[in-house]
């Protein structure tokens, strides 16, 4: 069980309010991702849930019990840190055993859980090594192993993959998702990477400057961003946000068109522009189109075989039914 509820939770450091009072519920078994630009308060929020920071106001309950004043160790949560935070003087086995040793679980049970975790995480051959003798990916696995053996009611991940190289990151991402499916335990995952958020989450919480901008499933956020910030943050490449006369044509202050929702043609279309940089990914090609008079640059996603060159004049036509409209406050117009 691991339902986590935040009611009017706030945090200030001195006079600086980093998290204004907010409400949030994470359901049992859910994979929730806190995402936002750096300094948005997502890590602080996670640390409040963990109990590593004291709240300045509000209550945090875990499975319906008020946990606001409970010390981190007693909350039944496990955390995986960005820096892995392994104990450098202990072997992998001792690292993984540490929380069980603190909980005074008997040795046979400890060994059983260590074996099981090591097997699931491909660490069996490394149990007697020190963290310093492991690669980054292996260290991260040890950190996850240390979290699993506690059988926590929820896992907290604080940017766990940002110290890994790109290839490893994709692999570990899948492993964590599989682990979630297998354990069916609540997970809260903090990242600044919206691709991680989109691919992993059941529920994404988009944060900016301590405020929750939107909560929803990845596709909800993609299809109906509540405001300009979410629209620009979710989706890669970024949505093209256009202001001015073109937006007024749609009775909006700002309109947003995703790069994948624009058709590119040679002959005729709604907007005319010049091709700048073309990024060929093979499957797709991203064109950066200039001189449209709409904004500095419009990004367009075209199929991989479309090949315009730098300086070519092209025509762009947005798909009418997927133009997002926002008012002057940046809020979505339904």
């Amino acid at each position: 069980m691991g339902q986590i509820t935040l009611k009017k939770v706030s945090k200030s450091f001195g006079d600086v309010e980093v998290i204004p009072p907010l409400d949030l519920t994470i359901e049992d078994g859910e994979f929730a991702v806190f995402v936002g630009p750096s300094g948005c308060g997502k890590s602080t929020l996670l640390r409040l849930i963990a109990g590593l920071e004291d709240t300045s106001g509000g209550t945090i309950s875990i499975d319906g019990n008020d946990a606001t004043e409970i010390p981190p160790a007693k909350r039944g949560l496990a955390m995986v840190f960005q820096s892995y935070a392994l104990y450098p003087h202990m072997s992998v086995r001792k690292n993984i055993a540490f929380p069980m040793r603190m909980a005074k679980i008997d040795q046979a049970e400890q060994d059983r859980r260590i074996e099981a975790a090591a097997k699931a995480l491909n660490l069996t051959d490394y149990l007697d090594r020190k963290p310093g003798q492991l690669s980054g990916g292996q260290r991260q696995r040890v950190a996850i192993g240390r979290a699993i053996v506690r059988e926590p009611s929820a896992f907290l991940f604080d940017e766990p993959l940002s110290n890994l190289d790109a290839a490893l990151r994709v692999g570990m991402r899948l492993e964590i998702m599989e682990m979630h499916k297998r354990l069916d335990t609540t997970m809260i995952y903090v990242t600044h990477d919206q691709v991680e958020a989109m691919t992993m989450a059941d529920k994404i919480v988009v944060l900016r400057a301590g405020y929750i901008e939107q909560v929803g499933s990845p596709l909800e956020l993609y299809h109906t961003p509540r405001n300009v910030f979410v629209a620009g943050f979710i989706g890669s490449p970024q949505m093209n946000l256009i202001e001015g006369p073109e937006a007024q044509k749609h009775n909006a202050h700002t309109i947003g068109v995703r790069p994948e929702h624009i058709d590119v043609t040679e002959g005729s279309g709604m907007w005319k522009g010049t091709v700048g940089v073309a990024e060929h990914l093979g499957s797709d090609t991203f064109f950066h189109v200039h001189n449209t008079g709409l904004r500095d640059m419009i990004t367009v996603r075209a199929p991989g075989e479309v090949s315009f060159r730098h300086g070519d004049e092209i025509y762009l036509t947005p798909k009418a039914d997927v133009i997002h409209r926002f008012d002057e406050k940046g809020l979505r117009i339904a």
């Binding site: 963990a50 981190p72 160790a73 820096s83």
Partner: protein, 276 residues
């Protein structure tokens, strides 16, 4: 990356380093040499350096006249005891300053260090009276406590510096893993800080071993350590350089040997944190 240094430059640096080392070591070397001379050769002018009649006579006289082992034992107990006591008090103190600092932490650290700027003789009288009142004058326990107290600021300061190097996330991980404060300090912080703690202990042991002001003033016969043993050879009957040197050599030998074997640890400890 290492800077490119020419061979000539390297030789020059080596020569300079050796010269400085020898100048610093010379008094100790001279003391050791003098301890093997006769009293006449010890004060001869011009001084003789190596070509004298080597003799062990001074050592046997010193050994006959006073009980070296008793002084040595007092020194070991006082220096060792004050070091261990100091560490037990300083580890939690340094932990709190390093990991849960308050607005006044820096002030407290400075204030603690400022006690070292006070001339010790300024508080000799009150402390002497307190020692009489408590009945711990000329006792090992009294000296252990006073030496622990005068070195405590240095121990706390050094440990604080080492602890600051330990990433806070590791301690937070221990907290998440269910460690109590005591377990966090015992199983995670202390083992990680072992190099720092070892060199702090070593330095503190040497400081306590060599401390003369309090050991001379607060002891008579019972608890007198090796510093008092040396001092007893600059007596009113006149100076006996050779015997004084023999006594000094015997007094510094244990700590010199200890320092020699642990110099790697000591250097690492003293430069810890200077380079990552």
């Amino acid at each position: 990356m290492a800077r490119a240094v020419t061979n000539n430059r390297k030789a020059l640096n080596t020569a300079i380093a050796w010269t400085i080392g020898l100048v610093i070591f010379f008094p100790i070397l001279w003391t050791i040499l003098t301890s093997f001379k006769t009293e006449a050769q010890a004060i001869s002018d011009p001084p003789v350096f190596l070509f004298f009649d080597w003799t062990l006579e001074n050592y046997s006289v010193v050994q006959e006249r006073s009980n070296y082992m008793r002084f040595l034992w007092n020194s070991v107990i006082i220096a060792g005891g004050s070091t261990i006591l100091g560490i037990i008090i300083a580890v939690p103190a340094a932990w709190s300053m390093a990991f849960v600092p308050s607005r006044r932490t820096k002030d407290i650290l400075l204030w603690m260090l400022s006690t070292k700027m006070l001339p010790a003789v300024g508080v000799l009288y009150p402390i002497y009276l307190i020692f009489i009142k408590l009945g711990i004058l000329d006792s090992r326990i009294g000296l252990t406590i006073i030496l622990m107290l005068i070195n405590l600021p240095i121990i706390v300061w050094m440990l604080y510096t080492y602890f600051r190097e330990i990433p806070g996330e590791i301690l937070e991980a221990a907290r998440m893993d269910g460690a109590s404060l005591r377990e966090e300090i015992m199983y995670v912080l202390t083992p990680m800080a072992i190099p720092g703690i070892a060199s702090t202990m070593l330095l503190n042991f040497i400081l306590a071993w060599n401390e003369a002001f309090w050991t001379l003033n607060l002891t008579a016969a019972k608890a007198a350590p090796l510093t008092a043993f040396i001092a007893s050879y600059s007596s009113p009957e006149g100076l006996f350089y050779a015997k004084l040197s023999a006594a000094s050599t015997m007094a510094i030998a244990p700590v010199l040997i200890l320092g020699w074997f642990s110099q790697k640890q000591l250097v690492r400890g003293l430069t810890f944190g200077a380079v990552k």
